[in-house]
Amino acid sequence: MNFEVLIASSIDGLTLGFVFGLMAMGLTLIFGVMKVINLGHGPFIVMGMFAVLVLSQNLGINPYLALPIVIVLGLVTGVVTYFVAVHRVINAPELTTLLATFSVNMMLIGALTIIFSTSPRGLSLELPAFRAGTITVLGTRVVAVLIALLVTGALYAFLYRTHIGKSIRAVANNRSAAELMGINSTWALALSFGIGTVLAMVSGALLATLFGFTVLSGGGLETKSFVIVVLGGLGNPTGALLGGIVIGLLESITTIFMPVSYVPVFEFVVFILILLFRPNGLLGAR
């Protein structure tokens, strides 16, 4: 075992973990506010990837400068999806919303496949890297971490410092009471679905700056988001960020010690153990 390899892999895992965290935050926010498990999360991540691809390749916008457009696009997509697919079934049993978002998933993947086909795509983006021996810290990863932190900070500021944010939290805590206090819960829910979608799309856009992707890349990332959400604690955005970092580190460090194809198995074993022994997640109440 080479110590340098451990350090290099830890840095790789840590940097990726922040983006995973951001990705899972979208899922956990929607769940926390409206108790809906959004199975459209994967395609939303993919939409972020393709949005940044189209904006940078077809319109020549720098991928990072394209992020504000991706955010607006995500917000609109999320709000529209909420009204089309979720709003009417929001009070139905949880399985109904699950199926509704699953339909969204199928439709989005179908539509994206028609437009983009399933051919692999990638962004051509190069930033300076810091190197020391086998340790390489890529500029793209550092920027991804900074943006992930920035977006997380902005999310918390929004939820805790603004009137609308407080309304969303109130709706999450007790929808009926919030409505009695004059809060328009429909818009609060729509907005939180929109923000959840924004988080998914921004994380997708950041992942696109790191790896190649296809229309079908969302499936694996969605499953990973579930694992991270459970790990961090359902409905807890900070937990999601922590869960993301833990999963990122686990993946990269275990790769050194075991055949790389066992890593997902290990990951799901951790997932099951968490479900068994700490079902509320690392940061959830016992």
């Binding site: 390899v5 790789d12 998933n105 079908l216 579930f226 990269s252 790769t255």
Partner: protein, 469 residues
């Protein structure tokens, strides 16, 4: 909480289901072949050949049979006996793109034969091939049903295979059961050709030899190389390539310092590359398909991994591989055929075997003229399928299946597609034993533009192989 967890569990199961559904198409993907560079276009509606401008096809018929006096073409064609060649094509479904290329190549061959007036036997009998094909929708069960129909209802004289190993295997089984001669293209699977088939002949280099040439090349261009890492996608095609490469490389005295597979769908190779770096290999051989291959090459470059030689399956021959920019430079990839290959009558003479059919340039020019797109190796395979059947009929001087099989067994020749020879051993009968992969490498031309060159084998190379710096 428990209720939520239950819903969550259902959610995860549904997601996993979705992933499996989504992955179904790639799993059925050819064990042999990468996606082609061709854009998806509408499937050919009718098998009937389109007329080709004379000037464009003239060179293609360079080595056509002796009886090909163009003046007599129409008169001869009128007396010619019909020879029905049946196959299925994937006009829809996962294999559509590559299959279309294969059929285009075959169509070009048919045009050339028609132009030459048909296939003539020594007694003057003329045979005019006709194609009959159905859309198999890239589905195995359709292939089986349609080949039975081709044999029993359409009374096909000879069969060609659909594109991809899985579909070709299904077709071969039906062909064998009915004693029909079949030449396969687009099918590199080893196992199919190790079942003691009697009438099936494989055109493609089998998967087990996809990377063995890369090991030979490594030892030639970098004699100091000792340690190699074999890393591969864990699908059946890439695994069988890797499994065959390991003993071959060890037999050549190379030390395999790492032999490890990664999951299909892997997106981040950073930790994996750190692990590879720790073993300090001179060369990396392996890979899988397009998406993983490109990401792997890009991350190797980003991390400045000091490996002098990298050969990856499937991805490098694709023109879009160069989208990863400088990371593509020096990456080598195996291909069944590339337009730059230099197989020729002269190289055949040097190898002391006969040359048959059009030259590489004649084929490429005719293809470009007809389809306004450069031929991929799938296209070349399609043409070669027909060409081999034509040669076998001429050699056998008959269309009797037993005589055709005997002629194919004896065949040892070079075409624009490369050298062709089939195994005559009972267990591996019909398996391709002579055709070599060509290895292309992304290099930079004088102006710094990324281009591809054939770097191996030496007799087909268009430039010297370069080591990574």
């Amino acid at each position: 909480m428990r209720n939520q967890l239950r819903v969550l569990t259902i959610g995860i199961l549904l997601t996993l289901g979705l992933i499996i559904v989504a992955c179904a198409a790639p799993t059925a993907a050819p064990t042999s072949a990468p996606p082609t560079k061709a854009p998806v276009v509408e499937p050919t509606k009718a098998p009937a050949p389109t007329a080709v401008p004379a000037a464009t096809t003239a060179p293609a018929a360079t080595k056509a049979p002796e009886a090909t006096k163009p003046a007599a073409t129409s008169a001869l064609a009128a007396q010619a006996k019909k020879l029905l060649i049946g196959f299925t094509a994937s006009q829809t479904g996962a294999q559509q793109v590559a299959s279309k290329k294969q059929v285009e190549g075959l169509q070009l061959w048919l045009d050339d034969v028609k132009k030459a007036g048909g296939i003539k036997l020594k007694d003057g009998t003329l045979y005019m091939p006709e194609m009959k094909f159905y859309d198999d929708e890239s589905k195995t069960d359709r292939v089986q049903a349609l080949y039975a129909k081709l044999i029993n209802e359409d009374k096909a004289d000879f069969l060609l295979s659909p594109y991809s190993s899985g579909l070709a295997r299904a077709a071969a089984v039906v062909g064998e059961q009915n004693g029909k001669v079949m030449i396969t293209a687009g099918a590199a699977d080893d196992v199919t050709m190790e079942q003691g088939f009697k009438n099936t002949f494989q055109l493609y280099t089998p998967a087990s030899r996809y990377l063995t040439g890369a090991a030979d090349m490594l030892m030639k261009i970098d004699p100091t190389a000792k340690k190699i890492a074999i890393v591969y996608e864990k699908d059946s095609f890439s695994t069988s390539v890797a499994n065959a490469l390991k003993p071959y490389a060890e037999g050549k005295g190379l030390n395999v310092v790492m032999f490890e597979g990664y999951d299909t769908g892997s997106t981040d190779f950073s930790p994996f590359i750190n692990k590879i770096s720790a073993t300090n290999p001179d060369a990396i051989l392996g890979g899988g398909h397009f998406a993983d291959g490109t990401t792997f090459a890009k991350q190797l470059y980003d991390k400045k991994t000091p490996v002098r030689f990298v050969t990856l399956l499937v991805a490098p021959p694709e023109p879009t591989f160069k989208d990863i920019g400088d990371a593509a430079q020096y990456i080598i990839g195996p291909s069944q055929w590339e337009p730059q290959v230099t197989y020729s009558a002269e190289s055949a003479k040097a190898a002391n075997i006969p040359y048959y059919g059009p030259s590489v340039k004649a084929f490429t020019d005719a293809y470009v003229a007809k389809y306004k797109d450069s031929p991929s190796y799938h296209s070349a395979g399609g043409y070669a399928q027909g060409l081999l059947l034509q040669k076998a009929i001429e050699d056998a001087d008959s269309v009797d299946p037993a005589k055709i099989v005997a002629a194919l067994d004896k065949m040892n020749l070079m075409t624009f597609y490369g050298v062709i020879k089939f195994s005559t051993e009972a267990k591996t009968h019909g398996k391709q034993v002579a055709h070599d992969m060509v290895y292309m490498q992304w290099q930079k031309d004088a102006s710094g533009k990324l281009i591809t060159n054939i770097v191996w084998p030496l007799e087909a190379k268009s430039a010297d192989g370069q080591l990574r710096k």
